[in-house]
């Protein structure tokens, strides 16, 4: 049958037809992926058709031994709620998903947005033995670097060796004694000879011998000084002065595997002014950022902080949906973030990203008096504030502006504005490229 061919075509088409990444981020269903799950389902674009708007359609459900009261939430409609075609065997209207893991996601996003974030390794997680390229002064005999010992010995020999005959000839100059020769050898001839050797040699000479030459010039005319290499070549190396201090033992190089750890703090304003659309925009911006960092680093951990006038930590599942009534005090979230980071994620060991989002509303002076100092105190690769304002700026919503002004020259603070899904990819670029510039 031709089905094998069809299957191959589908695989090809599936790769090509997956939703464009930017479009997926802006409009796709991001709820399928979780930072703790590995697969990000990106809809493979099936053939389009004239269809009803899903949410506007509603549907019919069947209760199991009773029906829910009107107004009761019923969960997401199950796939296969009636609108698929044909037999259950050919549920053709369902979408296929192209599963992307965060690594691939990060790669694709780099490509799509022209980013190139190079994650830094932090915590040393293990040391592995590399090649035997490092050396130490002690060690098992088997690892002794004999070649080095020999070379060092040779160097030493070359350094210490001198033309004994020549020095002895100098001692035979009439009127020169050991002191005069020593001075001559050391200062005029740079011969590495010791006073003791000269004294010994002088004593070994007979009185006649001590007056063989009338003057230095006569001696020099008679005796030619032979350079060391020539002498060694002539005489060969009889003995090499091996010294303990020249001994070196080889040992393997220790490579420190620095794990690329990242902790991402997601902060969200959940106060009353953060309505549905703003919440969605935050989710659209934060979720791809989380995936991206997850894909870039070996080990990613996430902290979710919700705040109104107070801050508290929440699960990811609740993070994007929470609403509360209270006012807004953004510094409460930064204080909690600082506490959590200091507690568990020391800057020496962790890359830190602190992302906050809200509609820029804050209680008076909180930004300048508390938030900015806290942002300065919290060491992080990147601080970002995402302002979500679908309907334009409210008058007293100045948080983003203040942060932006204060950190205008800083290279680890990004401020991005998102007022509709179209802005999301720009915001992500703005945020991620800020750190990149810092590199």
């Amino acid at each position: 049958m031709g089905l094998r061919e069809d299957l191959e075509r589908f695989r090809e088409v599936g790769e090509q037809r997956r939703q464009d990444l930017a479009e997926f981020i802006q409009y796709g269903d991001l709820s399928g992926g979780r930072p703790d799950q590995i697969k990000i389902p990106i809809k493979i674009v099936d053939l389009p058709e004239f269809a009803y708007e899903k949410r506007d359609m509603g549907g019919v459900g069947q209760g199991d031994g009773g029906t829910p009261e009107p107004g009761e939430p019923v969960g997401q409609p199950e796939p296969g709620d009636g609108d698929e075609e044909g037999d259950p065997g050919e549920e053709s209207a369902e979408h296929e998903y192209y599963e992307m893991d965060p690594e691939e996601f990060a790669e694709e996003l780099d490509e799509e947005l022209g980013l190139d974030l190079d994650p830094k390794g932090k915590e040393v997680t293990e040391e592995i033995e590399g090649d035997f390229t490092d050396i130490t002064r002690t060690g098992p005999t088997g690892t002794l670097d004999f070649e080095r010992l020999f070379k060092e010995g040779l160097k030493r020999k070359l350094a210490m060796d001198f033309d004994e005959e020549y020095v002895r000839a100098a001692l035979q100059i009439d009127g020169w004694g050991p002191d005069r020769v020593f001075e001559w050898a050391r200062t005029e001839e740079s011969i590495p000879v010791s006073r003791a050797w000269i004294v010994d040699a002088y004593e070994g000479l007979s009185a006649d011998e001590r007056t063989t030459y009338g003057s230095l010039a006569e001696m020099e005319a008679t005796v030619e000084r032979e350079p060391t290499p020539a002498r060694i070549r002539r005489e060969g190396i009889k003995d090499i002065p091996f010294r303990r201090e020249d001994e070196r033992y080889r040992y393997p190089e220790i490579i420190e595997e620095r794990e690329k750890n990242v902790v991402v703090v997601n902060i969200r304003d959940v106060s009353g002014s953060m309505r549905q659309k703003k919440r969605e925009l935050v989710e659209r911006t934060f979720t791809p950022l989380d995936w991206y960092l997850q894909g870039k680093y070996d080990n990613a951990e996430f902290i979710y902080i919700a705040h109104d006038a107070d801050a508290w930590e929440v699960d990811r599942g609740d993070f994007f949906g929470i609403r509360s009534g209270g006012g807004t005090k953004i510094s409460s979230a930064y204080a909690l973030a600082k506490e959590r980071l200091d507690e568990e994620y020391p800057w020496a060991e962790w890359n830190r990203y602190v992302f906050a989002a809200g509609d820029s509303e804050n209680s008076s002076n909180d930004t300048s008096e508390n938030v900015i100092p806290l942002m300065e105190e919290i060491d992080a690769n990147l601080h970002a504030y995402v302002e979500t304002q679908p309907t334009g700026n409210a008058i007293n919503a100045t948080h983003a502006e203040e942060v932006n002004d204060h950190f205008a020259d800083s290279d680890n603070v990004a401020v991005a504005y998102v007022s509709s899904p179209e802005d999301v990819t720009d915001a992500i670029y703005e945020i991620l490229s800020t750190e990149q510039n810092d590199e």
Binding site: G58, P70, G71
Partner: protein, 680 residues
């Protein structure tokens, strides 16, 4: 592509050399010969009249292939089949294999049995298939396409033609593939309520006017240059429509595929204008349109047809012990898995509705009889009638309830419920009544044997009848004092009315008419159906109603027009420039604009000139949503006219005057089931 040798109808034999695999298939075939024969006999006794069915034994891979190909062995090359196949394999990998029944609408029908299925599953599939074959043969919607579709051969021919184009060195294969994709985007945009009429491949699609005009121009003997400048093709085309001075098409046309087949062009990028479609394009467009019409009846009768097959399968398998007790456990498990699939399941909705139709028809007749008893009126019905007594009287007589093979000699002569031919054979020992007790009975006998009202799960039906319905029934009664006693009235009950009525319904109904006519509050309550809507105020789905009218509305929305919005060709000379204007018949449920735009791109490829779509869009204000949320209400949407135009390289979207779209809005239907106020 060659066929695998084991794909042979079981009955056929020839001189092929058989592999061990073939032998395995043949063994399975031999094992299933008797169940196949008996299932058909039983189906006929139960009043069904199926097409003959050829059963084919296939292996697991072939089964998956058949599923991918929509029940056929050969389809045109397309990645979509690969997608279904891939999903099918993943599903059986993760969910465990289900026994799929594959039977296609053809005369004879072809059905496929997977060699590795248990005998219980095979029997279930066979009984299910017989009922489908009956449905294909008798439902009038299937007659719309053809009573003799010769489908397998036709689809194979289509496959061959399209494969031929793909391999044609003159034609770019990827272009063929893209062209097919464009058409498939519109495969539901046909007029499924009209019989299929082919649009011929030859003949001048431009119509006689244009040809005549061209002739006149020839007669003017103008220079080529003048002709090119003044009377260019565009002018000619505009003349074609202008001359008639009426909108074209005269009536909005739902068969978009057919319209594009007849009048569509392709855009030639080099010439920067619309040019005639290639012959291969016209051919493929018509082929795929024909297939869309062929498959339409199945889509129109999904609930009805699947429910029908499940009903008779269940009756044969469970009630008539077609599966032995050991097999029955496997069967029950299989059945519960099929019926318990998540979401709204057409199998279970259909099955429940058919059972409900059967019982309410039976009840109606019993009540009619009881209302003819002296002293019983619709007002005092519940006081006068002892329902336990009635049910006891309705119990099938021993003669049909069970078969005692040792006492065949005491069966009386001349009973309409007994099949005397079988009885004679059984007395001679030629028929195994232990195994197939139903063979002893006629249709009448079986109807009594399986009378629905006395089944344990239905015993409440009779007493549950409402005063409203009693009154309605009594309104048409003339002789209401026919019987002295309840006993006499019940004695006159005809056990076959339920099944008779069911067969009538399966002849003329489709899903929409079926749901519209038979879905009642009683049914909705009994089966716990409810509606849900997306609540903008809370951002999630909420249950909204258990009123049967609401449930019906939502079901109608899901089954009317394949559950898709109706889009029609409104004007083929839009903007006086031969642009194509489509209109969405807005029924209160918004169109998925994003997808619609993608479809428009494809329509452009089939029209060759700019295309536009008008619809009504719902807009929600963020502030309104917030206010509504606080008041525990749903926000009001603002409906605005919306037009999307695709020029071939860009989209233009704009709000249009309400007057231009007003006629699109439905005034009499409201699919919204949200209550005025959410319960706190």
């Amino acid at each position: 592509m060659s066929e695998r040798p084991q794909n042979k109808p079981m009955s056929e034999s020839d001189d092929t050399i058989y592999t061990p695999e073939d032998i395995r298939m043949q063994r399975e075939a031999a094992k299933l010969e008797e169940p196949v024969e008996k299932a058909n006999q039983l189906a006929r006794k139960l009043g069904l009249d199926p097409y003959p069915v050829n059963y084919w034994i296939v292996d697991y891979d072939e089964m998956n292939e058949l599923i991918a190909y929509g029940g056929f062995q050969q389809r045109y090359p397309h990645w979509r089949w690969g997608m279904t196949y891939d999903r099918q394999q993943k599903q059986s990998q993760f969910l465990g294999g289900k026994a799929f029944e594959i039977v296609n609408n053809d005369n004879p029908s072809h059905a496929f049995l997977q060699v590795s299925n248990s005998l219980a599953d095979q029997k279930a599939v066979i009984t299910h298939v017989e009922a489908h074959a009956d449905f294909f043969a008798n439902n009038e919607w299937f007659a719309l396409f053809s009573r003799d579709p010769n489908a397998a051969a036709q689809l194979a021919r289509h496959a061959e033609t399209i494969r031929g184009y793909m391999h044609d060195p003159e034609i770019d294969r990827s272009e063929v593939e893209r062209f097919i994709d464009h058409i498939l985007s519109l495969e539901d945009n046909i007029d499924q309520y009209r019989p299929y009429e082919p649009i011929s491949t030859d003949g001048d699609e431009n119509g006689p006017e244009l040809a005549a005009l061209e002739d006149q121009l020839e007669e003017l003997e103008l220079s080529e240059e003048v002709k090119r400048q003044v009377f260019d093709e565009e002018w000619l085309e505009s003349q074609e429509v202008d001359e008639t001075d009426v909108t074209f098409p005269p009536e909005p046309e739902p068969d978009i595929l057919g319209f594009l087949r007849a009048h569509g062009k392709q855009y030639d990028e080099d010439a920067e204008k619309a040019v005639e479609m290639e012959d291969w394009q016209k051919d493929i467009l018509e082929i795929l349109r024909r297939e869309a019409y062929y498959f339409a009846p199945q889509k129109l009768t999904k609930v009805l047809n699947e429910g029908w097959a499940s009903y008779w399968e269940s009756l044969m398998m469970a009630d008539e012990n077609f599966a032995d007790s050991q097999e029955f456990i496997t069967y029950a498990d299989h059945m519960s898995r099929v019926l318990a699939s998540p979401g709204l399941n057409p199998y279970s909705l259909g099955l429940q509705l058919w059972q409900y139709v059967e019982s309410s028809e039976n009840r109606r007749q019993v009540v009619e009889q009881l209302l003819c008893v002296k002293g019983v009126t619709w007002r005092n019905f519940h006081e006068m009638v002892d329902f336990e007594e009635v049910l006891a009287l309705l119990e099938p007589e021993d003669l049909v309830a069970s078969v005692d093979t040792d006492r065949l000699d005491v069966i009386p002569e001349g009973d309409p419920r007994i099949d005397y031919e079988t009885l004679a054979q059984a007395r001679d020992g030629d028929v195994d009544l232990e195994r197939y007790p139903w063979m002893l009975f006629t249709y009448d006998g079986l109807a009594e044997r399986h009378y629905s009202l006395v089944k344990p799960q239905n015993r409440g039906y009779l007493s549950r009848i409402s005063l409203d319905e009693l009154e309605r029934i009594s309104r048409y009664m003339f002789d209401d004092e026919k019987y002295e006693t309840i006993e006499k009235a019940i004695d006159a009950v005809d056990y076959t009315v339920g099944w008779d009525r069911m067969r009538e319904i399966r002849e003329s109904h489709n899903d929409v008419t079926f749901l519209d006519e038979f879905l009642t509050q009683e049914f909705v309550d009994e089966q716990n159906y409810f509606t849900y809507e997306y609540a903008r105020s809370s951002g999630d789905y909420r249950a909204t109603s258990t009123d049967y009218r609401d449930v019906k509305k939502k079901l109608m929305l899901q089954f009317t027009n394949f559950g898709k919005p109706t889009v029609v060709v409104a004007d083929a000379n839009y903007r006086n420039r031969n642009e194509l204007l489509l209109e969405h018949r807005y029924n209160g449920v918004a169109l998925d604009i994003g997808q619609a735009k993608d479809v428009l791109k494809r329509v452009f490829e089939l029209w060759g000139r700019p295309v536009a779509l008008r619809t009504i869009k719902k807009e929600y204000d963020d502030h309104d949503i917030e206010v509504a949320r606080r008041r525990n209400k749903e926000p009001e949407a603002r409906e605005v006219g919306w037009e999307i135009r695709y020029t071939g390289n860009e989209f233009e979207e704009e709000k249009v005057e309400w007057e231009t779209v007003e006629h699109l809005g439905a005034t009499d239907i409201d699919y919204d089931t949200k209550p005025e106020e959410w319960l706190a």
